[in-house]
């Protein structure tokens, strides 16, 4: 019995001594490497307080290596042998202890700093990475809720740090030197490489992107930044490599006074991004629908009116289509404007145009009874559409177009306009006349007018035409009529999905996929958390829907290639510096420029116009 007790006591003493020795050795090492310890402690504390990831400390360590290089170069000049140079840091470290003992602590630190700073930061990065790993996997933390509390706290701190970074005036240009569109400060990267500044290749926007965010979440800022950033990067590529000149087309499908404000802001921003002609439709500029090839024009005109494909309506639709085709493809050529088109919907005009063509005259005679109805319907439609599509002007006359469609006020009109504009974009993308353009078609709240042209059709057309399409919606439900359509749109968004604050982010999170994590369960023993438990591999969201629901204004998750980067979007600001003219573009062939027509505005010709009623000079 006695020997057993002695053995147990001995074992306990050995364990305690071993533990004490381990601590003693650790403290001795930390004390011996005091400068490194101090830097590591400061780095660790900074990362904890600012919510930095370990990558940020590693970058800082790498950026501090030049000081080590300069120090070693200086020492190399003094000692002149490799062996002495290798031992120089050790000598300086030893000397620093003498200095510290003599009370010259600052001198001692300066002597060691060139090697201690990088080493300390690397050590801090390693320790911080281990701490995060340990907390996440249940190896550290005093309570079972430690991972949850730790994650929430670090998110708060990361967000605060990112907000501070985007507030700086010059940290986030629209595009960087490598032609990437800069979006803002990274809060957290899951499955993506962490970089302090989040940017995406501008070619990602030549494919399709989806933006989902409820009202007031900062969607407009995000979209404007992508437009201006894309424009800057595409223009730079045009200057540098001769890539096609960019053409940005924005369809603001909600309309209203807000749209005018957004349009003006977009124009100011695009001007600083290098765009010269920025047209706002229909307030200031017009385009001509009648410049489309006759066959396309006939199809587009038919699509502008609502028709049914069943019963008597189907018969009427067929007659309408036949009449439009006859009117548009008549021998004198396509109509030049709406009035000219309506003139053709008369039996006399059609008979004169097809005189001598017996089969077409037969078709005119057959449709004669319905011509009045068709004419009336198009007269009404064209008057509702307004002069905006009656030209003159083409999309390629400007560098950027901002189309304001009154989708909230007059949905059917806006739908017809969207149909026509989509057709014009397709024509601009495929036209072999004039210079080729890199086109980005951005549709803000397109769901408001997607009744006639569903979003997935727009996507499919954009893909086949090589036009980048960016679509925004306020919710998952706004992307399409049913889940199939919504999933089709999101699944083909190979340029990425921007997820902002929204109450129903699950479908997007499902598309983003999961990642494998270690989940640790902790046993409850007698009403308290014990130190026993089990771990197993589980799947966690890559784009956590809980985070998406809680996002603050201006925060977004960029889901792409199986990862998600949470970003604090930097507000796009036009440069406050006065602009000098951008470099003149080379002109290969002296062009006869055709300008889009401005909406006529009479010049002031009397003092009332200048000074207001009753004013006197």
């Amino acid at each position: 019995m006695w020997w057993y007790l002695r053995a147990r006591l001995l074992l306990w003493l050995l364990r305690v001594t071993g533990r004490a020795l381990r601590w003693a050795v650790l403290i001795a090492v930390l004390a011996a490497a005091a400068p490194v310890t101090v830097v590591a402690a400061v780095g660790f504390a900074g990362a904890w307080l600012r919510g930095w990831p370990p990558a940020r400390l590693r970058r800082a360590a790498c950026w501090s290596l030049p000081m080590t290089g300069v120090y070693l170069a200086g020492r190399a000049l003094q000692v002149r042998t490799w062996q002495a140079l290798a031992l120089a840091p050790v000598h300086d470290w030893r000397h620093s202890w003498h200095l510290a003992a003599a009370g010259r602590v600052l001198t001692a630190f300066v002597l060691c700093a060139p090697t201690a700073v990088p080493a300390g930061l690397f050590a801090a990065a390693g320790l911080w990475a281990w701490r995060i790993y340990a907390i996440d996997n249940g190896l550290a933390g005093k309570t079972a809720t430690a991972p949850v509390v730790f994650d929430a706290r670090q998110w708060r701190r990361s967000s605060r740090a990112a907000r501070g970074r985007v507030a700086a005036p010059g940290a986030f240009p629209l595009a960087d030197r490598r032609g990437r569109v800069v979006m803002g400060a990274t809060i957290r990267a899951v499955g993506h490489r962490w970089r302090p500044v989040s940017a995406m290749p501008y070619r990602a926007m030549s494919r399709h992107q989806v933006i989902i965010g409820s009202s007031g979440c900062g969607k407009t800022n995000l979209m404007m930044r992508t437009w201006a950033g894309w424009y800057v990067a595409a223009l730079a590529a045009h200057y540098q490599t001769g890539a096609p000149r960019p053409l940005l087309i924005v369809l603001d499908c909600k309309g209203g006074p807000d749209a005018r404000t957004k349009a003006a802001r977009t124009r100011t921003l695009l001007h600083t991004a290098g765009a010269r002609r920025v047209a706002i439709w229909p307030d200031e500029a017009t385009v001509s629908l009648w410049g489309l090839p006759p066959a396309d024009l006939a199809v587009t005109l038919f699509q502008l009116i609502e028709t049914e494909a069943v019963g008597a309506a189907a018969y009427y639709a067929d007659v309408t289509q036949a009449v439009i085709t006859l009117a548009v493809t008549a021998p004198p050529g396509p109509p030049r404007d709406g009035a000219g088109f309506l003139d053709r919907l008369e039996p006399g005009w059609l008979e004169a145009a097809y005189a001598g063509d017996a089969s077409r005259l037969g078709a005119v005679a057959a449709a004669r009874r319905s011509l009045g109805d068709v004419s009336l319907r198009y007269r009404t439609l064209l008057s509702r559409l307004g002069p905006g599509l009656d030209g003159p002007g083409t999309l390629t006359d400007a560098d950027a177009w901002y189309f304001i469609l009154e989708g909230t006020r007059e949905q059917s009109v806006a739908e017809a306009q969207a149909t026509a504009l989509t057709e014009l974009v397709a024509h601009a993308a495929t036209s072999r006349e004039g210079e080729p353009r890199a086109i980005l078609l951005a549709c803000d709240d397109y769901s408001a007018v997607s009744g006639r042209v569903p979003l997935w059709q727009l996507y499919e057309r954009g893909r086949s035409l090589g036009v980048g399409v960016q679509v925004s919606a306020q919710s998952w439900q706004g992307l399409g009529r049913d889940d199939d359509e919504r999933r089709r749109i999101c699944a083909t968004a190979d340029g990425g999905i921007w997820l902002m604050r929204t109450p129903y982010p699950q479908p997007i999170s499902e598309l983003a996929g999961t990642r494998r994590v270690i989940e640790t369960a902790t046993k409850v023993l007698g009403g308290v958390w014990g130190d026993e438990g089990s771990s197993r591999i589980q799947h966690a969201w890559t784009a956590d829907p809980g985070i998406a629901r809680r996002l603050a204004t201006g925060q977004a998750g960029y889901i792409h290639a199986g990862g998600c980067t949470w970003v604090q979007i930097a507000r796009p600001r036009p440069s406050p510096l006065s602009l000098s003219p951008p470099p003149p573009e080379p002109v290969l062939i002296p062009p006869a420029r055709q300008q889009p027509a401005a909406v006529p505005s009479a010049p002031p010709d009397d003092l009332h116009d200048v000074f207001g009623n009753g004013a006197r000079p």
Binding site: M67, V117, G170, P591
Partner: protein, 162 residues
Amino acid sequence: MTDSPDPFTVLGLPLRPDLSDERVRAAWRQVAIATHPDRPDGGDPARYAAASAAYAVLRTGWGRSEAYADLAAPLTGRVVSPVAVAARPLGLGSWRALALVPARIWHGRPGRLVLRIAAGLVLALLATRTGAGAPATAGLVTGIGVWLVLTVRADLAPPPGR
């Protein structure tokens, strides 16, 4: 457009595409008040007519955009080879970038910038006064310099077109 005088100059406005409607109108009013033919002294009909024409061009955002584009890129019809297009330098020239630095400081956060540079200078001065030896001091001053270079950009306003 190329034969008529520059509408921005006629109204005494800077050559910028982002002028507001109010600013253009104010400039037009100023010229019109001084030159209107109904003035007791007869005004300056030629200048009034030129200002009227300029205002007609610049009164809308689209008009300003057009006029700015015409002035910034006069269509000379000069033939440039595609090689010249490919060789065009990207971004700002280094001289222009240097010339823009004062404006970037002024429009950025000059207070913070001064504080940052002052902190860097004080630390560098302290390091040189400690007598820790040339290599270590040079290393530390280099580190402070790298930190300054990496951080001051945030305090500068972005250059135009980026």
